[in-house]
């Protein structure tokens, strides 16, 4: 298979491009998302929510390459054999690329690691996601925006998951950039229109050598079932994921998001207390 732009061999089928043309394509697509959706202004300070996986590491690499003022925040949930490994790589990457990295742990912030919390019966992915978002928001106050490595695969899965669970509020909150809401650092997703496979190919070309590591709880999640189903569907009907996102963006409407402030921590929420505080109280009461 030849590159559609030159006689060199292609390294990816869709788009059918060689290494040099794929690199141009990838970087142009990130720039286009940033420009079209106004994700980053030149004078802004950005923090990347980094896990040490290929998406966030590649995002750090490319934003730094583009000359943005970027730092990294990582959350150590305390998942033995997984997060310790990804953080080891992230520390090395940030040190080599002169990127400031701050790490906040569940153990220090909440008094218990996720491993301990799950042993007490808390649902892993739900608890983890809520507490991680809470800490990210809490520690990203001084930044203009938080950039995440969410990609076309993640986002098409999220659209489908929210649809299947009739999560109307969540359904209206997706997209390449969240709205400005008091108490929340705005989130941006520069890889919104890029597939996981494309990010992996770019990371490989650039020699980022991000080791694969899978969270031991990931297989239990609802998302993993939706992801597997969507990947099977994409194989039969190529373009399905992209269609889901494009259709979603064309029908998206914004709801009136949280207007209350949590009585415990002050975070925006729909009730009296935010979900993160409710989980923390439950964790604290477990012996």
């Amino acid at each position: 298979m030849r590159c559609k732009e030159c006689p060199e061999p292609a390294i990816i089928e869709n788009p059918q491009l060689c290494q040099a043309h794929f690199t141009d394509y990838f970087e142009s697509k990130v720039k286009k998302s940033i420009d079209e959706f106004g994700l980053i202004e030149r004078n802004e300070k950005i923090c990347v929510a980094a896990s040490g996986g290929k998406d966030s590491v590649t995002l750090l690499y490319i934003l730094k390459k583009f000359g943005y003022d970027v730092e990294a925040i990582a959350i150590d949930e305390g998942i033995h054999g997984y997060r310790d490994r990804t953080l080891r790589f992230l520390k090395k990457f940030c040190s080599e690329n002169k990127i400031r990295l701050r790490i906040y742990s569940y153990e220090k912030e909440f008094g218990k690691s996720l491993d301990k919390t799950v042993k007490k019966g808390e649902p892993a992915c739900n608890t983890c996601g809520t507490l991680r978002r809470h800490l990210l928001n809490k520690h990203s106050e001084k930044y203009d925006k938080v950039a995440t490595g969410h990609n076309l695969d993640d986002e098409s899965q999220a659209v489908l998951m929210n649809l299947l669970k009739a999560q109307k509020k969540l359904f209206s909150r997706q997209g390449p950039k969240t709205r400005k809401i008091k108490g929340f650092t705005q989130k941006i997703k520069p890889f919104y229109f890029l597939k996981e496979k494309e990010i992996m190919v770019y990371a490989f070309i650039k020699g980022l050598n991000v080791p694969f590591s899978e969270c031991p709880f990931a297989r239990l999640s609802y998302r993993s079932k939706v992801r597997d189903a969507l990947n099977k569907y994409e194989l039969i009907y190529p373009g399905t994921k992209e269609n889901i996102l494009n259709k979603y963006l064309s029908i998206r409407s914004f709801d009136n998001q949280e207007t209350n402030s949590c009585t415990k921590c002050g975070s925006p929420c729909s009730g009296l207390e935010c979900k993160a505080c409710r989980i923390q109280q439950r964790i604290a009461s477990e012996t």
Binding site: I11, I12, E13, G53, D154, E196, K197, M200, E214, A218
Partner: protein, 64 residues
């Protein structure tokens, strides 16, 4: 040929000659979820692989 499957961390010795796509099908791996390298260079699914090649099946799925 030696086939390293990143997701499971295992290296398999398989006798195979054909396309990368057929190799993935024989390993029951969804091509949406991986990229393949032959002798440390990325190849497309239509490329031929043979016994003397060193193949890696790298997972593209986020681990979290």
């Amino acid at each position: 040929m030696e086939v390293f499957i990143e997701k499971t961390g295992e290296t398999k010795n398989v006798s195979f000659s054909g396309t990368a796509k057929a190799l993935l099908e024989s390993l029951r791996v969804n091509s949406e979820e991986v990229i393949i390298t032959r002798n440390n260079k990325i190849i497309t699914l239509d490329q031929q692989v043979k016994d003397s090649d060193s193949i890696k099946v790298l997972s593209v799925i986020s681990g979290g």
